[in-house]
């Protein structure tokens, strides 16, 4: 009858334990090296999101690129979060820049039924939760980018069915 447990117990004080320690040491060293290199490198180039629902706008004076996501197709009368990223000269805008998302139907002279608040996210991101297109038709969406005293607007139309 083989007592595996006792074998194992005996093996813990054998050369196999040393090998296991060496492996763990190698892994930790590798991880540290990796972290070191990553830390020394410049931030990765901004990733421009693409795919269904993503819209790319340039602000009216060409200062900013706005990547805006709204579901495709945009839902009628359902809340969702509009979010995106703003770039300036190819880099995400700084944390100090304010971004304001809004929408409305100029032909009907109204805006969003419930005003939304836009929050900033890291790496040039922004998000506006609770957006709801309460009526079918053409909606005009705007993104205002505010840097100190200056405001510049990007805008675009979406058709809600």
């Amino acid at each position: 009858m083989t007592d595996f447990d006792s074998d194992n117990s005996e093996s813990s004080e054998s050369p196999g334990c040393i090998i296991l320690g060496l492996v763990i040491f190698s892994l930790l060293t590798g991880l540290l090296m990796l972290l070191f290199f990553v830390g020394c490198q410049a931030p990765p180039a901004a990733v421009v999101p693409q795919g269904p629902g993503w819209k790319s706008w340039t602000s009216a004076d060409g200062t900013y690129e706005v990547m805006l996501y709204i579901p495709d197709p945009a839902p009628l009368n359902q809340e969702f979060t509009a979010h995106g990223t703003v770039f300036k000269d190819g880099d995400p805008i700084s944390e100090a820049v304010e971004v304001v998302f809004d929408g409305g139907m100029p032909q009907h002279a109204h805006g969003l039924a419930v005003p939304v608040e836009t929050i900033r996210r890291p790496a040039g991101g922004f998000a506006a939760a609770g957006v709801r297109f309460h009526m079918g038709g053409r909606w005009l969406l705007t993104v205002d980018i505010i840097e100190g005293p200056h405001l510049e607007r990007a805008r675009g139309w979406v058709e809600i069915r």
Partner: protein
């Protein structure tokens, strides 16, 4: 009888837990309120031309005292409408009076736009000067403080209200207003009318701070809403009259803030009185005679209103009906050089309109704005001009109440048919000028900027008047500071600006001069130092300078070689060659002259051959307008056929 029922039901209908308790109605009060609620019968209209009525108050002995401007004088008007022939000149420091209140000893406290407070006697002689607020300020309105202890004055430069003691020393100040144009005390409460918020802001000075967000009213034409509320007048320490200027009416509010009554409606015919009002700015009330006096500087007159017979129905035209605060042709406009577009600043509706201008009647493609502080909205749009060399076309607007500039563009395809297209106009950018002034060291000032006239020059340089600091700020196309024009002693107010080659022409209505500024030159060139009240200016391609004169409703031309100005249009009226309170003048590359005939709600164009064309509000057109002409032609044809 119905009025009695309304009165007794009123406290229940207006239940408001935060409102102060009011006195229970007595029989006398019922009678008085019934009287107040029937005011509106036009008694008499008195012209003060060429002077402008500037301020009015009721006299304890009955009747009214009123102050005029240009010339600055004190006059008296009885409640029966008799205007005393004698008038007394005001002291020199009070050339632009803004408020008057009677003292018990028969003297008056008066304030001037430039920030002077003084006591005068019944002959207008200065008795004493009062200190008033320290530093630079611009008086907007004057009233008695609650319980009659001292005075209340508003400061338009800083958006402040000050409580002065009887000797004119500041006791307390409140801020947070945009443009406090009127003030009065009702009971223990202070009421401020704010043209920027389009609200009445009520607060108890003992325990509250003014909160415009909790103000009464908002921009609009329905009863209880306001459009540029101006002068206030307390009634029996429980109610108040409000000059609802851009709604061309006077409203009566309860001490709880409910609109109970109104009278007045926009004139249908030019200069029409008899109950019609045109931009009323202040109201005073003789309680004993039950007569309200309303001043209308735009018409240079004062009207008296008395009690209507409650059994006689009010004429339908005077009842409230939904009125859109539509185009009135404000004080500023701009033409697209060599193009087809025209933009008009419309402070009445807090909008800027975009029109196609090369039609007999310009066609409105779109407008932008609405009241408020959100981007692309306005609080008193002022100067406007197209940026040169932009495709799509861009223009810049000075948004005075929001202390910012806004730039718009329109990508309009010039294809028929013309149709109105909402949101055709796009906001490009804006800049918070108050913040920009703080950030830019050479622009810093103790008084926040107050933006007015504007022009865009060569290279996209934008020149905007900062009336609060007697200077012109210069910015580039991205709204970055690039310089400023100042001229101590020469420039008092840049009432109008236009691009002139590498410089700018400036009309200074206060200083009565035409100036030309050039970047890099320390002093402006004085083109005309004695032209009374220039309110619009531009350079003609032939080198001549054209300007409008607000003092005598005229358009003048200074030849290219200089010398005496030639009168082109003149005379206060609606005739073909007349103007009424003209403002902006813009001249196209082809030499056509575009005059904004603000007081007539119309535009006047003089083409290269000297032919005149008018467009705008039809009753104000020389022959009733195109539609009237078409109607007459149709009638003629019908008669011929018969």
């Amino acid at each position: 009888m119905n009025l009695l029922w309304i009165l007794f039901l009123w406290p229940g209908l207006n239940a408001n837990p935060s409102a102060p308790a009011t006195v229970a109605p007595t029989g006398e009060l019922v009678s008085d309120l019934e009287t107040h609620l029937t005011i509106g019968f036009p008694l008499v209209s008195r012209s003060l031309a060429p002077a402008l009525p500037a301020a009015i108050c009721a006299l304890e002995s009955g009747g009214f005292a009123l102050l005029t401007q240009r010339p600055a004088r004190l006059r008296f008007l009885s409640s029966a409408g008799a205007l005393k022939e004698e008038s007394w000149p005001l002291p020199d420091l009070f050339a632009s009076p803004r408020g008057i209140q009677q003292l018990r000893r028969g003297h008056f406290i008066i304030i001037d736009r430039a920030g002077h407070v003084g006591e005068i006697d019944r002959q207008g002689k200065l008795v004493r000067m009062l200190p008033g607020p320290e530093g630079k300020w611009q008086a907007g309105a004057l009233s008695r403080a609650p319980r009659g202890v001292g005075w209340l004055v508003t400061d338009l430069l800083h958006g402040k209200l000050h409580h002065l003691d009887p000797d004119g020393n500041v006791q307390q100040s409140w801020s947070g207003f945009i443009e406090p144009t009127g003030v009065c005390s009702v009971g223990d409460h202070i009421w401020v009318s704010d043209r920027g918020w389009h609200r009445l802001i009520r607060f108890d000075p003992r325990s509250q701070q003014p909160d415009p967000q909790q103000g009464i009213g908002d921009h609009g034409a329905a009863p209880g809403l306001l459009a540029s509320p101006m002068g206030l007048c307390a009634v029996e320490d429980q109610f108040l009259w409000v000059s609802d200027r851009d709604n061309h009416r006077v409203q009566f509010f309860s001490g709880r803030g409910f609109s109970m009554h109104q009278f007045g409606i926009h004139s249908m015919l030019p200069r029409e009185a008899l109950g019609r009002l045109h931009y009323p700015t202040a109201v005073a009330y003789d309680e004993q005679a039950a007569v309200a006096a309303v001043i209308e500087p735009s018409e240079r007159r004062v009207q008296l209103f008395g009690v209507r017979d409650p059994e006689v129905p009010v004429a339908a035209a005077e009842l409230w009906q939904r009125v859109d605060l539509v185009s009135h042709y404000g004080r500023f406009w701009a033409i697209q050089p060599g193009g087809r577009l025209l933009v008009v600043s419309e402070p009445d509706s807090e909008r800027v309109s975009l029109l196609v201008r090369d039609l007999e009647i310009p066609f409105e493609l779109d407008d932008v704005g609405g009241p408020g502080a959100a981007p692309a909205r306005f609080r008193t749009p002022m100067g406007v001009d197209f940026l040169p060399g932009n495709d799509p076309s861009r223009w810049v607007v000075a948004d005075r109440g929001n202390q910012r500039l806004q730039m718009f563009q329109v990508a309009w395809k010039q294809q028929p048919p013309l149709r109105r297209e909402p949101a055709l106009v796009q906001l490009v950018r804006s800049v918070d000028m108050a913040l920009l002034v703080q950030q830019h060291s050479s622009w810093q000032s103790s008084v926040p900027p107050r933006l007015a006239a504007l022009a865009c020059g060569e290279g996209g340089i934008i020149a905007v008047a900062d009336d609060a600091n007697q200077r012109i700020l210069l910015l580039d196309r991205k709204f970055r500071p690039v310089g400023q024009f100042e001229a101590a002693g020469l420039l008092q107010e840049a009432t109008a600006i236009s691009a002139d080659g590498s410089g700018f022409l400036v009309a200074d209505a206060i200083g009565g001069s035409l100036l030309r500024f050039e970047q890099g030159q320390p002093q402006p060139e004085v083109i005309d130092g004695d032209c009374r009240m220039p309110v619009g200016v531009d350079r003609h391609p032939d080198g001549s300078i054209w300007y409008t004169n607000g003092a005598n409703h005229s358009l003048l031309r200074i030849p290219p070689e200089g010398g005496e100005a030639e009168t082109i249009l003149a005379g206060g009226g609606t005739g073909e060659r007349q103007l009424f309170r003209p403002r902006a003048v813009r001249i196209d590359e082809d030499g056509s002259v575009w005059v904004l005939d603000h007081g007539n709600h119309r535009g006047v164009v003089i083409d290269q051959n000297g032919a005149l064309r008018h467009f705008g509000s039809e009753p104000y057109l020389p022959d009733g307008g195109v539609r009237m002409r078409q109607l007459k032609l149709q009638q003629q044809k019908l008669q011929e056929q018969r």
